[in-house]
């Protein structure tokens, strides 16, 4: 089952395309990171998936074929918007009451236990909580709904490093406990490896790279060798991005795991951060799953 599936999805705001012909399929059972520079269309894509925005063109379904924004889709997807907007003048307990009344599935004991564990006082006004506590409360509200998919828009953007660490820990604990799918956007590329096992890179409103983290890492390597030979190698191999330091050239290349490096060159494993940054620096390059390979096993090459 695909938790989100789009076909030629496009959204235009006052003459500017936020998304353009965006086609993607996100399989269930993953923690998916949606990365890309500011303005790449991440928020637009997520808003469309939860039914807050209507696409200009194209189609989108969620949870294995439900139209985005339909009652069934809303029932199965919990959304934590950017900056986790909650009612600042409501108490924590009232916010839980509100969410309980707005949903058919709701696990109050679990929400209470989580907040007690986090040390968030139920009587305190939401506006008086710290940024980290507000984010944790928003996550608690999402998890208590027992959704099939949790979508989070930039959950880490305004958290300090400690709160960031705690938040991701909570999210991963919830995933382990419930087995729900997670889709979160982030422009922070560091630390993704620790949480995400599936990656989508969005650039200029289109999917630039998508696949499971393992497959993407296995499908790329860094070749290090003399800078003088870099030109001939680039013509021969699918080089994504190259950089030179001193006499050495470092080339990110799409390669199979069992391929041997060219003579005089050394092959290294690439880190996820390096991989993502390289793609972001080369918006023309793309690595997408082939038609029959949603697991990301085969990488279709697009010039």
């Amino acid at each position: 089952m695909n938790v989100v599936e789009t076909a030629r999805l496009s959204k235009r705001y006052r003459g500017t395309w936020a998304l353009r012909d965006c086609t993607l399929a996100i399989p269930a059972g993953h923690v998916v990171a949606l990365v890309g520079p500011n303005g790449a269309g991440k928020t637009t894509l997520l808003n469309i998936a939860v039914g807050l925005t209507t696409p200009t063109a194209g189609s989108v379904t969620v949870l294995g074929g439900e139209p985005a924004g339909s009652p069934a889709a809303r029932g199965g997807i919990a959304f934590v918007a950017q900056d986790a907007p909650l009612y600042a003048n409501l108490s924590v307990a009232d916010t839980l009451h509100l969410a309980r009344d707005l949903n058919l599935r709701w696990d109050q004991p679990r929400a209470d236990a989580r907040l007690a564990e986090l040390g968030i006082p139920p009587r305190r006004k939401v506006g008086k909580l710290s940024g980290g506590q507000q984010a944790q409360l928003a996550l608690t509200l999402a998890v208590a709904r027992q959704p099939e998919l949790v979508i989070l828009d930039e959950p880490l953007a305004r958290l300090d490093p400690l709160a960031r660490h705690d938040f991701m820990g909570s999210l991963m604990a919830a995933v382990t406990e419930d087995g729900m799918s997670v889709l979160f956007s982030s422009h922070v590329v560091a630390e993704l490896e620790r949480v995400a096992d599936y990656l989508i890179v969005l650039s200029r409103g289109q999917v630039q790279m998508a696949g499971s983290v393992d497959d993407l890492l296995a499908g790329h390597c860094v070749l290090t060798g003399p800078a003088a030979e870099a030109g001939t190698l680039t013509a021969r191999l699918p080089v994504i991005h190259g950089r030179r330091a001193g006499g050495q050239a470092h080339l990110l290349v799409r390669c199979g795991s069992d391929e041997a490096a060219p003579h005089g060159w050394q092959a290294h494993q690439v880190s996820l951060e390096e991989l993502v940054l390289s793609y972001l620096r080369e918006p023309e390059a793309s690595a997408l799953p082939g038609p029959a390979a949603l697991s990301g096993a085969g990488l279709a090459v697009r010039p």
């Binding site: 808003n47 939860v50 039914g51 807050l52 925005t53 209507t54 949870l63 985005a68 924004g69 009652p71 069934a72 809303r74 029932g75 199965g76 997807i77 919990a78 959304f79 918007a81 950017q82 900056d83 986790a84 907007p85 909650l86 009612y87 600042a88 409501l90 009232d94 009451h97 509100l98 969410a99 309980r100 009344d101 707005l102 949903n103 058919l104 599935r105 709701w106 696990d107 109050q108 004991p109 679990r110 928003a138 509200l141 709904r145 027992q146 959704p147 099939e148 406990e177 419930d178 087995g179 729900m180």
Partner: protein, 362 residues
Amino acid sequence: MTALSAPAAPGAVRAHRARIRMRWITWRQHRTALAGVAIMLGGCAVVLGITGLRMQHAYASLVRGRCPLTGALDISRCGRLEGAYYHAGYPLTGNVLLVTVALPAIPVLIGMFVAAPLLAREYEAGTFRFAWTQTAGPTRWVVAKLVGLGVALTAASGAFGALVSWWLAQVDPLASDSRWQPAQFGLTAVTFAAWTVAAFAAGAFAGALIRRTVPAMAATGVFVVALTAIAYKKLDTLLVSAGPVIGRTTLLGLPVYQPGSPPVTFMLGQAVTVSVPAGSWPLRSWITGPHGQLIGSLPSRVLALNAQAENRWLAGHHLVLWTAYQPPGRFWLLQSVEGAAGLLLAVILGAATVLLVRRHTA
């Protein structure tokens, strides 16, 4: 507890209850605004209630039965008694015009402070992203709030309008036609409730359209003030003059006051007063001669005659007096027409608000 229509989640489903509830949410999020409305209406109601009861008491004990409408009138004594009665409701009775101008501000304030922030604040704070992505969804959320608050405000403003009508009747117990005046026609239970709910819907619509609280409040204020002005200046005048009953009286002599309920009278020229049924709203009158020709007014030399001579003159000239008026039985029919207009506007604006929200969110 287990009849879930939504797909089951992985893991144990500990369903709290399989029903979406909006009542508590509506109350919790708008109780401050509703308390403000309650204080505003309640405060006005207390003042109107006290002065109204004092007037009623003063009229019953001072004026009724002591200042006859028939027979010889002791002008100075009646004036003194009516002055004492009138004073019972002072300063409101001295400023009835001010009261009838100030009270229509209530729907304006309700539109601005209760309705305009209803959606504008959700958009402004971004909380709609939280509220409308829950299972209940945006449509349920907006419809429940509009209907719940709309019904509560209709009930409160209807009761308040009834109190205002009662109070206005105490101010001038002799003039049973005063309720037809445009300023008072819009302050009954029916019309006041209708314009209040229309103002509420207008505020909600402005909030959905503009999505910023302060501009939405300003737009609501301007719109509702304009709406009220149109209702009082145009609609009321149009309604009370619509399809009047035409009365025909052969002018044989001056009509006299009837004992019992005071007739509504108005002057024709200077000498001729015309009666229409009590509680009617006289619109206009004219005189035709024996051949049907319109006679503008009685000749001035006739007006100079004494009553007896004038009666003789009238009897010899076969004049017909025509009067156009709204009979008292029409009052609530015309009220319900205006009420329906306000309610229709409210329903249209409410539906447009729901459509705007739905268009914005899937």
